[in-house]
């Protein structure tokens, strides 16, 4: 099998992993090639609009596990391939020197045993770092079930280490991925969390959950994310809309991946990490799923309508963050600007604050953007839904074709 075909097979098998970020590490080049940029750099964008910053490949797509949702499961009859460590190094270096990529993302199917696979990954990465003096970004997958000694060794070589939790609840994991246990994954996360430093996994760890392959609600998913952020200080939890690749009685029969739901989860994820929201603010047992028509923050605002409208010139930073359409940057800009002059609606616009959603929820010097009698929940809700619809149509989202 030539290199071209191998790369095709092993990139194809790796593409369902959502993570591609290359940020958070500040590795300097001493001798040899490469460094990393703290902000991360996107090098290209694939036909699905997702960024390509790392050479995302599997070491091999041979796998002894039989996870129902996975393309590479043992019971699928697909073409299998395996790289040699030297091949991975050569492709990575050749791509890196030409500025195609920011670094390497190396994952793998389980060959023989978790430990054996981990050793192969370590061998490859250590070759890159020590023989070829490569100082670019490396994101490696820790194989669940491998020994702690190997997790330790790999963490010293890479910028980011991740282990995928795949599904939010233990029961569903048992049903769809009989060979995996969440215990294995969390023990890796725990170890990385306790040892993380400038030398060990400098860019931190991340994980991924599959959305829509099981019946879990958004509440289950968000609770899981929140607990992961809390207990293991993850940099990111990625949500990956389930793409129906395998036909299986265990799996739902859908045609399109649930992209809107994925989008809502990311929005809510941001609210947890940067906007001081709690899961219980956003969802509860009565409303276990996000509103598909309105984004989570606007939805929250409508449910807490008596807290609005908020006065821009006096309300606190935390209150500013609760206003739909106002992000961290805008809130900070408002804070500094209002010390220097009185803010009117036009000033907000000029400062780059997007008023599309925010205007319904704020007062500037006691004034609403139109006559105050329009400040009514139903009217605002209608407008928000309409605007979101227009935005979606503009973006030509796949779901709308189904409606």
């Amino acid at each position: 099998m030539d290199l071209q075909e191998k790369l095709k097979i092993l990139a194809d098998s790796a593409k369902y992993d959502a993570s591609c970020s290359s940020s958070g590490s500040n590795r300097k080049s001493k001798h040899g090639v490469g460094n990393t940029a703290l902000s991360g750099i996107c090098h290209s964008f694939a036909s699905d609009g997702r960024c390509i910053s790392l050479l995302k490949i599997l070491f091999t797509n041979c796998c002894i596990f039989d996870c129902k949702y996975c393309l590479n499961r043992r019971s699928n009859s697909i073409k299998r391939a395996i790289f040699t460590p030297e091949e991975v190094c050569s492709i990575t270096l050749n791509f890196y020197r030409r500025n195609y990529i920011e670094g390497l993302f190396l994952s793998s199917g389980i060959l023989k045993s978790p430990d054996y696979t981990m050793e192969l990954i370590i061998k490859t990465v250590s070759l890159l770092r020590h023989k070829y003096h490569f100082h670019g970004y490396i994101h490696a997958k820790a194989i669940p079930g491998s020994s702690q000694k190997l997790v330790k060794e790999l963490g010293l070589l890479v910028d980011r280490l991740s282990a995928n939790i795949e599904l939010p609840t233990e029961n569903e994991l048992k049903r769809l991925a009989p060979n995996k246990t969440s215990q294995n994954v969390s023990s890796i996360m725990n170890y990385v969390n306790q040892n993380q430093s400038k030398k060990y996994v400098p860019a931190g760890q991340s994980t991924q959950m599959i959305i829509g392959a099981t019946k879990e609600s958004d509440l289950d998913i968000m609770n899981k994310s929140a607990s992961l952020y809390r207990s293991f200080h993850l940099k990111r939890v990625f949500y990956s809309a389930y793409v129906p690749i395998n036909k299986d009685s265990y799996l739902p029969s859908i045609i399109c991946p649930p992209l809107t739901r994925e989008n809502r989860l990311y929005q809510a994820d941001w609210l947890l990490r940067f906007y001081h929201f709690q899961v219980k603010d956003l969802l509860d047992f009565k409303h276990p799923n996000f509103n598909t028509m309105i984004d989570p923050k606007a939805d929250w605002a409508l449910r807490h309508f008596d807290e609005f409208p908020k006065e821009i010139s006096t309300c606190s930073y935390y209150d500013l963050l609760k206003i739909p359409g106002i992000g961290v940057k805008s809130a900070k800009r408002i804070l500094t600007a209002r010390k220097h002059f009185t803010i009117h609606f036009e000033d907000l616009k000029r400062m780059g604050v997007v008023l599309k959603r925010a205007k319904y929820f704020i007062l500037c010097n006691g004034k609403y953007f139109i006559n105050h009698k329009w400040f009514q929940k139903e009217w605002i809700e209608k407008n928000l839904v309409l605007e979101e619809k227009i935005e979606k149509e503009e973006n030509n989202m796949e779901q709308l074709r189904l409606f």
Binding site: K15, V33, N35, F45, S47, D48, I52, D347
Partner: protein
Amino acid sequence: MNHVYVYDGDYLSLLNTIFYLLKTNQKVENIKPENYSPTLFENIIHFNIPKQDHLLDQIIQSFGISVARAMYYVFLSEEEKKELLLYYFVYYALKYRKKIMYQRNLKCVREVLRISNYVLHESHKLKGFLRFQELQNHLLYAEMSPTNDILFLLSCHFSKRLKNEFWIIKDVKRKIISIYDKKKFVILSEREFKLSLEKENDQEKMIEDLWKTFYNTIGIQERKNDRCRMNFMPKKYWKYITEVRDEL
């Protein structure tokens, strides 16, 4: 008759002109680089003032480093009236000093912020989108045609990243090149340095094909979203991006 003040074309000379104009309290209608072609109704004024090298330090000290950077980025932009904008900006900066950037209700402050961000964003994008090809003797060569003059910013980035390589980056639009010799880079105009490069190369073709294979495989068919891709990777850059060039 409009009075147009001209400067040498480099940043320091522009700063000199601006500070001189402010000091002497002259009425300013426009400031342009030397090589600009005036219209019939314009009266060109060129001063021969000694260059003051300390101006840059003075700006950093009195306005702060981030303001100094933003001003330089504006200079690198293609904005038509950037010189005049910087003139007004310096006028207000001398008044507000380090607090100038908070004065977002001033148009010149907003414009400086907008334009400097635009230049910085483009340079960040090109850090990703620039594509090298390997020529003989391991020389890496890249072409680009950015909207703003970001060759210097990019050269700084790549002199750290590709420290132990020889590379050349060419700005096709401005006809300038940056050459790096494993120690430092110099920026030359094409007139000063004639490039003669042989580009066809089997090994290079193989690696480009490998990359195109990867690129075409990694997108998920079920999530295809051309609009999203275009937002992040505007078509104006495609001509020089190996993996999408053929789609043009």
